[in-house]
Each structure stands twice: as C-alpha cells, then as structure tokens.
Symmetry: C2
Subunit: 317 residues, 2 copies
Amino acid sequence: MDDRGRQPLGELEILARLRSRLSGLSGPDEVHLGDDTAVLSPGSGRVLFAADLVVEGVHFDLSLGTAADAGWKVVAANVSDVAAMGGVATHCVVGVAAAPGSDLVGLFDGLQAASAAYGVGLVGGDLSRAPVLVVCVSILGETGSGPTVLRSGARPGDELWCTGPLGASAAGLEGLGSGRLGRDDPLARAYLRPLARPAEGQLAAGIGASAMIDISDGLALDATRLAEESGVGIELDEVPVAAGASEEQALGGGEDYELLFAVRAGTEVEASFEAAGLRRPVRVGRCTADPAGRSLRGAPLPPLGWVHDLGAPARQG
Amino acid sequence: MDDRGRQPLGELEILARLRSRLSGLSGPDEVHLGDDTAVLSPGSGRVLFAADLVVEGVHFDLSLGTAADAGWKVVAANVSDVAAMGGVATHCVVGVAAAPGSDLVGLFDGLQAASAAYGVGLVGGDLSRAPVLVVCVSILGETGSGPTVLRSGARPGDELWCTGPLGASAAGLEGLGSGRLGRDDPLARAYLRPLARPAEGQLAAGIGASAMIDISDGLALDATRLAEESGVGIELDEVPVAAGASEEQALGGGEDYELLFAVRAGTEVEASFEAAGLRRPVRVGRCTADPAGRSLRGAPLPPLGWVHDLGAPARQG
C-alpha cells in the first residue's frame, strides 16, 4: 500500500517508485524499464502479440476487489490469449490511466504478481490520469518450434474439449456483490484472481488441436466464435459447471479463462493431460459440417455471453 | 463516419465493422485481427516493445480535435518511441475504452492512417466502455542489424542535436483553445497530427549516436532525462523554436516528437542528414562530466516540462 494514503504523487515520483518494484525477467542484452522502449532478444519461432484492457466499473469494482486484483486479472487475461494460441507469454507492457488517489502501488503489485506467476517480464509502460482506472496490458509470446493454434482450424467431426469447469467467476461476482461471499471464497477468488491455462494450451497444441479459444465471455459465445471462424457447426452436449455456479453462468458469465479446443476425434486427450500432470479436460461436444448449426443437447444454443454494448452483460443480438 | 450517428452499437457489430476497415500489413504466415493474438514472423535483430496511451481531457480535447486526431497522435507517439531507439516500428495493437456514442469509426480511421503512414501493421486490440475515451497503443519494432540507441549512452564531450524546431504543438494547442487558429493552421496541425521521426532516428543511430530520446515532454525535461540516464551534465546553448511558438513552449510544451541525440563531437551530422534528404538537425549543446550540471546559455536550465500530477502541465520538482 502507498504509505502516503490518497495524497497525489507526481508522475515522476510514481514512476521512480514503481520502477524500483518491478523486475522484468531480463535476458542478456535486454533493456526493460526506463528507456523509450524495451529491447528484447527474440527467440526462434513466431511472435504472438495481443492487448487486453480492464476498466473500473466494467471489468472490476473497487468496492468488491482491490487494484491489485485488477492488475492480476488483466495480466491473466493477456496470458490466456497467448495460451489460446498454444504459445508461451514472454513479455508485457502496461498503459495505466488512473484517477488521482488510485492505489497505483497496489495495482503494480498485482501486475507484477501475475507476471511473475506466469514467467512474463513486465518491461515497460505509460501512465496518465483519467476519471476511472483503466489498465491496458499488451503481451508478447512465442510458439517456439510448436504449431500456432488459430480459432479457424476446426473441421467437421472434430471433438470439442474444455480444460475445466466454468461459471465460477460469474458466481463469485454475484456472491461478492450480494455480500454473501468473502474474498477468500473459492468462487470469489475465481472472479478476483482468475487463472490462465498456458500449460494446457501448449499441451493442446502439442496433441494436434485444430482450433482453440479462451473462454473469456462464456462458453456459448466463445464456442460460437470458434465455430464462426472455422466455418463449422457445433453440437454441445455437456457443459462443465463449476461447483456453486449455474449452467447459465457457465454458458454466459465469462472471465473463466479456461480453454476450448477442437481436436480430431479419437485423440487421447484425457491420457495426454493426465500424463502431463494437468486436470482432465471435459469433452463438451463436436463440430459438424453445417456452418449454421449451434445446439446444446439437441436444442438451440442459448444466446448467452458477455457482450459489451459497450459494456453491459447482455444477450447476443 | 458512422452513418448511425450516436446510436450505440454492440461490441460485436463494432468489431466487425472496424475489422473490415483495418488492413494489417501481413507477411507470409502471419495472422492479424480476429484471433486471440496476432501471429508475426520476426525478423532478425532485437525486438523493441513499448506502450503509450492518450486520454480524453488530458492528451486531447474533442472540442478542439477529432477522434481521428487522437488515433493519429497515439500511434505517432508510439512510433516516436521506437524511432528514439533507432528502430523501425513494425506492428501495433490498440486497447480502446470509449464512452457510448464515441466516434470509434473516426478513431480507427486515425489509428489506421498513422499506422499506414509509418508502415506499421495494426494487428489487434481490445474494446470496452469507459466514461471518457482512452486509447492505449502498444508497438513492436526491430533494429535489424543496426545498433540500439539507449538514453543512457551519452558521454562527457558528446554534442547534443535536435532533429527540428520545438514548441509548435504547444502553440497550436493554445491557438486552438483560444479560437485564434483553425485546424489547418500549421501550428494546430502540429498539435493535432504530430509527426514522428523514424528516418531521423535510424540515421542518428547509423552515425553513432551514443544516446537518444524523443521530445514528448519538452526539451528541458527530456534533455534532463537523457542526462540522468547517462550520468552526464548538459549545457544547452541553443533552443530551436518553431515559427509562431515561444522558447518556453519549446522547452516545456511537449508533444513535438522531434528527437534529441548525443553524438561524438566532430561527427558530420548536418552533412549526413542532408545527404539522406532529411532536414538539418540543430546542435543544441553538449554533455559535460558534472552529472549535476543542467544549464541553458550559462544559467540554470528552467524546470519546465509536461509532468502528469497525474496529468496537468506543471513545473518539475
């Protein structure tokens, strides 16, 4: 916490204090904080590059969680994007727009904690003021010699698998909002400190996943996105629901950051994950040849999912 | 312009419309918009990585300029960061937090215009709502086989050069704010559509610049930053002031995005720039051995410069 409480600090003072707290993971000949850009030594393979932002009042509520939670979440969301390509996240930069008195030290603690947890170097950024806290993280990753798994490669007949149960984050938000759950409850934790699944993404890529997406907006919407990009239909027959969550939250709540991937039918998915010491994925359905097909247990897939209009949870239109 | 005026659009509709407008510069085997991350084919050399954000009411005022101007400016600021390393910007991603009714089509037109002008592929991003428009661009660049020029390499005796006159952006903001200038006035243009200097940065690197920084916060503050990072003193004896601007605006106004570089005394700077068809830089002073030295024409360097507190133009210290 900032020992000066809510007294405003100048940007230079804040940057100097934050810089001393951050420790990018430097390779030889690399330069991180303190110059116009970070200087990185690229590995072989392809470079992955993405951005995700979180906004106070939209993605987080400082009456329910802390600035550190917001920092954790935006890094996890970015790592999840890289995981959904089968890649390894390596470096990130952060743009912060903060209201005067924002807990920037807490925010950077959360950014740094998640970066360290996922082995990502936090190597630069920018800071300004704004009426609410906005945190935009951009992430770099690489695929090494492995394949890159796009959203668009699923084929009719492929099975669809999900790396874990869904809906915990939405149930945690609901429980925190009603005061029913404390922040250490597992559901609250799933909302405040979601986990990305990089090992699962790399393994899915390794066993030949034809398409993959991270479930950031609910299974219904993200499965639909994968189907649209691949030009296939989807038949879901199983929704993995987290303990304490509802099927509606699993289908539409979002921010779970599990991975949904397609793979050729008959692939030894469960055995491969078990052998790697990872939780068994759940087979949720299959891809079909009808590009308009979207079903759940034989009925039309409910149009659930987090859609920004800009921002509110809403039904798809 | 958005033909639906200020009627809110859903995120999916906006993304679909924007995606059709954007044309990342794709290499072979590259994937840009529409997946979890962009997939890039790295060149040789080092990777440069940075972020810069602009906030409505801080960096731009939609009563003075357009959303397209804001998009242009944030890309130019990022390209300028890469230029200040002697690098070539290659790809960027953008995080946008926008108020309902924001001119997102105009914003993306400006982002795309600047990206195209500097040969940068706009390859991904994220979109949310917020009370004001916040645009965070992250940029990737590379140095190829050339050197990377840090802020920290200046040595006592090196000359300091600036790639062009300063203060036009601050004078343009003042003139727009008072209603004295229209948006096509050159000073207003310098504020609304600033230019980065990538060719100048690469040339400075090529002739052996020992340190470099882009002048985003005024000559006084950015020269001080270069001196601090290099552990040298600076004696300035010339301030290149743009026509229509004041010396105070040149020293403290910011957002000019010219480059300040240090180079061994006697280097053929002017001839090198002329031979490359670039405007002659101005020799503004020299580096000294006293790390505390900060002077302008023999007097203490005025403590001018754009400092976020968070956000307002302010004196240092």
